[in-house]
């Protein structure tokens, strides 16, 4: 969508790093820090200079557009409800964004890397069910955390292996996983809600520090880690390269398949963490948790300015996207709108947000 506003070749943002003098930089990478530092240098040099200059405004412009949308929503919220601009309500919005926010971090990596993960909601469900069985709960807090994260990671790993080495299209693999993982969740839970009796686990959702729930800090920490991983490490640069042009990335010496596996593994781990947060929030595990989260997270990533085809994107944009959705829902409830009006308005706001970004994008870059 942003092709028109920023007319330049699609492989620009990620691939040039890999293209400009890739051989030495990439192949020497494993385990040796110096080449990592050498790469930004390689980027700044030669032909990559202008590309970098163009790259930064792009990310900022997208985020700016969404910030405008958020501010507009804030104005609407404040004028329509006296309860909107209160500390309590802002905390409620941030807490509501926490679970989807963490899932969206993983989804952003996968989509920038040229894939898609439709199974995130189902992974959350299976992880939440697995970590709340009577047997797991008997191991207490540590056992539950371990189970949720490892189950998420295992399903993500399986996704990645099937896509990278089984050469099945990501859309189909994760679609199949969406069905199977939810099936496993139903099988384990016998389709019943499993109430969490471990108090220390439920406290994850109720404990606050400086008036802000732990969940919000957890999301913030994961977003910061994700941002660093995406923008400040070789792993991140490889993600852009693999998504922009996998063949070029391969020729540049990137182990594309292994990298793909890692991306889905990362998404799975994010889902495992999200499952912990959601399970604590609802104080229960159930096979119907996380329903349609895949659509919520993909929508947030896309309105955040990430290219659905991969190779370009911004994590900050994705998180702003999540906040836009959560704020919309909050304003709807504050004003007691009916479900049908909510659905219509939500669709219109998504389109408006994307259009606004596009016009913003057309004006800003020099």
């Amino acid at each position: 969508m942003s092709d028109r506003t920023t007319p330049r070749p699609a492989q620009d943002p990620g691939a040039p790093g890999a293209d400009t003098g890739p051989g030495a930089a990439v192949t020497a990478l494993p385990g040796t820090p110096p080449p990592v530092k050498a790469r930004p240098g390689a980027l700044r040099g030669a032909a990559a200079g202008p590309a970098l200059r163009r790259l930064l405004p792009l990310a900022q412009v997208h985020s700016l557009g969404l910030l405008v949308v958020l501010v507009l929503l804030g104005v609407v919220g404040t004028t329509t409800s006296g309860n909107f601009l209160t500390g309590d309500n802002i905390v409620t919005i941030l807490t509501g964004a926490a679970v989807i926010g963490v899932i969206t971090v993983g989804q952003t990596f996968v989509i920038i890397g040229g894939g898609i993960d439709l199974s995130v909601g189902a992974i959350v469900a299976v992880a939440s069910v697995w970590c709340t069985t009577v047997a797991t709960q008997s191991h207490g807090l540590a056992g539950m955390l371990f189970t949720a994260v490892v189950v998420g990671a295992a399903v993500g790993l399986l996704n990645g292996l099937l896509i990278a080495y089984g050469r099945i299209v990501a859309f189909i693999t994760t679609l199949a996983m969406m069905a199977s993982a939810r099936g496993v969740a139903e099988r384990i839970s016998d389709r019943q809600s499993q109430v969490v009796t471990v108090d220390s686990f439920n406290r994850i959702a109720t404990d606050k520090f400086l008036g802000i729930p732990l969940l919000v800090y957890l999301m913030a920490a994961i977003v910061v880690l994700g941002w660093l991983l995406l923008n400040r490490t070789t792993f991140g640069r490889r993600t852009f390269a693999v998504g922009g042009n996998p063949e070029a990335a391969r020729l540049a010496g990137i182990a594309v398949r292994r990298h793909t596996v890692l991306l889905y593994l990362l998404s799975g781990v994010c889902c495992g963490v999200a499952a912990v947060m959601l399970t604590a929030r609802t104080t229960s595990g159930a096979s119907n948790l996380g329903n349609l989260y895949e659509l919520d997270s993909i929508a947030a990533v896309i309105i955040g300015g990430t290219l659905l085809a991969g190779g370009r994107g911004s994590l900050v944009g994705s998180i702003l996207g999540v906040l836009v959705f959560t704020t919309i829902t909050n304003i709807f409830v504050l004003n007691n709108l009916t479900t049908d009006i909510q659905e219509i308005a939500k669709g219109l706001i998504i389109i408006a947000a994307v259009l606004l970004q596009r016009f913003q994008g057309a004006r800003s870059p020099a």
Partner: protein, 356 residues
């Protein structure tokens, strides 16, 4: 690509493999869910001997059973209770079709049961309208159909209908709230309603009943928002509703499964100035009511034991008997179940029939 030594890769892979294997072994031990719930579930019907002449063994009856996929607590209990009830009769054999939420698949499933020439059919259709024709087909083939809960379009398609009263559920929830508020002397109460999936007919009926009951006392719903029958949607909606109304007097939540999330939201927001009424009658909700520690003070039952009653009716129809204690020679054509209001006072009576 062959840059790093094969040794280091091999070692890393082996470590990784060992780790994965270990985790797998640990986890596989963690799928068990066995508690003493099994005993409770059996209790649903065990202590309820069939009354009168109806209880004595008679002609052998084969009952075919078809219901939607058991994808939430209430529906799971429906299938379980039907099976348990059939198991209690020595003169009944029970043939259940695989549960499905696909109308086409359910039509085929019922067709198969007809072809197998079962004596009586018990059908809870995923969509009553869509399955009317197959019900009629069974009736034409002289197989009486007991229509469970979601009603067929045409009364020719079933011999007997038995099901819950969604409107009555809303009425009873409303009446309990009115009674309690009047007793407290609250004049202009702020009442919230957390509905279930909003495009379902049953949600509309529940809300209508609730509205009507409140209107009689001159009260009205101050805020009404719909969730999705899931705990996460209930949590999300309730946390926002609590922001929308800084003070509440009463809340009716349509469904106890989503209620787990609603209660969690209340606890996380640290609110307790109001009381809440649930819906459906899950075991968890009844335990909360009994403990009397949170905001949940009552729930209006949508009995999941109705499938057990449907099996009993199917057996009576198959044997040509009437319902014990009723004077009629035949099973009635329609039975609407009462939606009882469960409070701390009578919770012990209803706990055995609650679903998990």
């Amino acid at each position: 690509m062959k840059d790093s030594g094969a040794g280091s890769i091999g070692r890393r892979n082996m470590l990784f493999g060992a780790g994965a294997l270990g985790s797998g072994l640990l986890l596989s031990a963690c799928t068990s869910n066995s508690t003493d719930d099994g005993a409770d579930q059996a209790g649903v019907t065990a202590d309820r001997p069939a009354a009168g002449s109806a209880g004595t063994p008679g002609k052998h009856v084969t009952i075919g059973f078809s219901a939607p996929a058991a994808d939430h607590g209430w529906m799971a209990a429906i299938t379980k209770n039907a099976k348990a009830q059939a198991g209690r009769y020595t003169d009944v054999s029970f043939q259940a079709a695989e549960g499905t939420n696909d109308v086409n698949a359910q039509i085929s499933a019922v067709q198969t049961l007809i072809d197998r020439k079962v004596d009586v059919l018990v059908v809870l259709p995923f969509d009553g309208k869509a399955l009317t024709s197959i019900g009629a087909q069974a009736m034409d083939a002289d197989i009486p159909v007991v229509n469970l809960d979601r009603v067929f379009d045409n009364s020719l398609a079933y011999r007997t209908w038995i099901g819950g009263d969604n409107y009555g559920m809303g009425v009873n929830a409303g009446q309990y709230i009115v009674r309690t508020l009047k007793a407290k002397g609250v004049g202009k109460p702020v009442i919230a309603e957390i509905a279930g999936i909003d495009n379902l007919d049953l949600t509309k009926q529940r809300s209508q009943g609730f509205k009507d009951a409140l209107a009689k006392a001159g009260f009205s719903v101050s805020i009404r928002q719909a969730a999705q029958f899931t705990a996460d949607s209930g949590q999300q909606v309730m946390s926002n509703v609590l922001q929308a109304r800084s003070k509440l007097d009463a809340v009716w939540n349509h469904d106890d499964d989503q209620g787990i999330g609603v209660e969690a939201a209340v606890k996380q927001a640290g609110r307790s100035e109001f009381f809440m009424v649930g819906g459906a009658g899950s075991k968890h909700a009844m335990q909360q009511i009994k403990a009397d520690s949170g905001v949940l003070k009552a729930t209006v039952v949508y009995p999941s034991s109705m499938s057990a009653s449907a099996i009993t009716l199917a057996r009576l129809i198959g044997q040509g008997k009437g319902v014990g204690d009723l004077v009629e020679q035949e099973v009635p054509t329609s039975i609407t179940l009462f939606s009882a209001t469960v409070t701390k006072d009578n919770v012990d009576q209803y706990l055995p029939t609650s679903f998990t």
